[in-house]
Amino acid sequence: MTAQTLYDKLWSSHVVHEEADGTVLLYIDRHLIHEVTSPQAFEGLKLAGRQPWRNSSIVATADHNTPTDHWDEGIKDPISRQQVETLDANIKHFGALAYFPFKDRNQGIVHVVGPEQGATLPGMTVVCGDSHTSTHGAFAALAHGIGTSEVEHVLATQTLVAKKSKSMLVRVDGQLQPGVTAKDIALAIIGKIGTAGGTGYAIEFGGSAIRALSMEGRMTLCNMAIEAGARSGLVAVDQITLDYVKGRPFAPSAEQWEAAVAYWKTLVSDEGAQFDAVVELKAEDIAPQVTWGTSPEMVTDVNGRVPNPAEQADPVKREGYQRALNYMGLAAGTPIQQIGIDKVFIGSCTNSRIEDLREAAAVIKGRKKADSVKLVLVVPGSGNVKAQAEAEGLDKVFTDAGFEWREPGCSMCLAMNADRLEPGERCASTSNRNFEGRQGQGGRTHLVSPAMAAAAAIAGHFVDVRTF
């Protein structure tokens, strides 16, 4: 038998039917649902008089619209509230394996909640009406975002109409410098291959630096695969994966555990498996990364400068750079460390897990936020992350530094709730997108790691966390 990639294995084990042109029906094991991209799908199901094919595949939570403070006052925005209540009603009507509604102690960002509950398991296909579903690939699950029509399709048929992607191996070998994190690896990769570099590919992350990452770090990396254009990111199963999954609420029971592990251990790319593309990075070469523009590929290291658009040969790129600098209010040649910030956001499905919060807290211990920084929001990814952080006293570290400690949710990652930037405000953010208006109309986003965000909050501008 020919050597297979992890992606080949996951793909072929889920094909239900294949057509002559290569279009397949792919079976879906886990369907994650949130309030924003599901109402029209449930509505379609109702109109057609259909039922979910297997409602025990569904795990749902409300995260995008939910406020991060004053939970006792409920959701004030009536349109946001209606969307969350619509999800409540749909889950009540159609059923689910688990639902973590607004204010539930297990509620949180869907991509934090799934793994934390053991609802994401190795070998699964996982979909969600959300592009950052790639996160779950950290467990060697084939996971990707889908649109609302596909949400309805999966609800009704438990399958997806799909075509196989090409495969790319991104290999990162060596040892990261202290203070450099999975987020920096992700941004460095995007800086290297561009935001469309992974389009049409499923990316597997491998190499010794990836093997050394915790599950939290691997989730951060796979989360950002979509920012490199790849719908899914993957990391092979190893002991770190198994240790993370064991004992979680929806993980296999004791009698099934051994059988599951035996299978999961096969979820690696075979020796000699062929990839359509290979990209290599050296871990030692990666410095803390900071984006300066309006696309995640507009990134440089913390000791770099804002580039000069005039030096870009390609006219489309040159214009894109110029437009980005205008939007960001930055002059070409400005050293990154001279860029002052107004707000800081530590959170999102990229960087709101316990390890992220520990990294941020370690940087600030005993220090206070700069006076020039108006607001530092720390938003844990889930109720469980919040409880864990509080048990470790991290909340106290944050509030002592003048940071705000909030309730879980997507928050200022996309600013659908009240947490947002005002026009012209500049933010150091641990989220994943620095698009125009992403964190509020006219807001200026710089993507960084949690440690870099925390350090920037203290200094009032970007600083190199390695020497901070």
Partner: protein, 212 residues
């Protein structure tokens, strides 16, 4: 779904790369629980000078005269001409819904982001990939000629310019069939219900932990 056969439509050129779905339809409009009505807020932050919120009367908002969609010569455009990596970012299907609701039937670009590309087909909106130099040429011709329209023939898989130049494009047989006939994909898939059930029964036996 609306069937797509042949469209002859005015072209609007959107000359920037990496147009993301946040730009196509900003997040505040995602709070709707409906599938329709997104057209007036397509490219909201570029199209209007004020900050848009759901429920506003868009007809009285100040429009940005410098944004191409607001140029009188492109009113009623059905074909959007775009640059590489169009539709990157979030998976929101509200992006194709907004384009379709505005009146676009096709988007032509050198490349698209995967999820957006896929979402288009579910809504009778045809995403067409043409080589970068051809797209360049179409940009030049569109900007030089007022009233410039392209004819898109899905059955023949061609885009034809007013001067008669014709460019072929690729589409999978499955997608073409669904689009040409305006088919409900769920109905088609359910014709394979037995195969899905058989697959499930086998997996349940092999990996019972997936079915708790």
């Amino acid at each position: 779904m609306k069937a797509f056969t042949t469209v002859k439509g005015l072209v609007c050129p959107l000359d920037r790369a990496n147009v993301d779905t946040d730009a196509i339809i900003p997040k505040q409009f995602l709070k709707s629980i409906k599938r329709s009505g997104f057209g007036p807020n397509l490219f909201d932050e570029w199209r209007y000078l004020d900050h848009g919120e759901p429920g506003m009367d868009n007809s009285v908002r100040p429009v940005n005269p410098d944004f191409v969609l607001n140029f009188p010569r492109y009113a009623g455009a059905q074909v959007l001409l775009a640059r590489e990596n169009f539709g990157c970012g979030s998976s929101r299907e509200h992006a194709p819904w907004a384009l379709e609701d505005y009146g676009f039937r096709a988007v032509i670009a050198p490349s698209f982001a995967d999820i957006f590309f896929n979402n288009c087909y579910k809504n009778g909106l045809l995403p067409i990939v043409l080589p970068a130099d051809v797209v360049d040429q179409l940009f030049r011709e569109t900007e030089a000629n007022e009233g410039y329209a392209l004819t898109i023939d899905l059955a023949a898989q061609t885009v034809t310019t007013p001067s008669g130049a014709s460019f072929g494009f690729d589409i999978t047989a499955h997608r073409k069939h669904c689009l040409l006939n305006g088919l409900d994909e769920i109905g088609l898939t359910l014709q394979h219900a037995d195969a899905i059930r058989a697959y499930e029964a086998k997996r349940r036996a092999e990996q019972p932990w997936l079915y708790r």
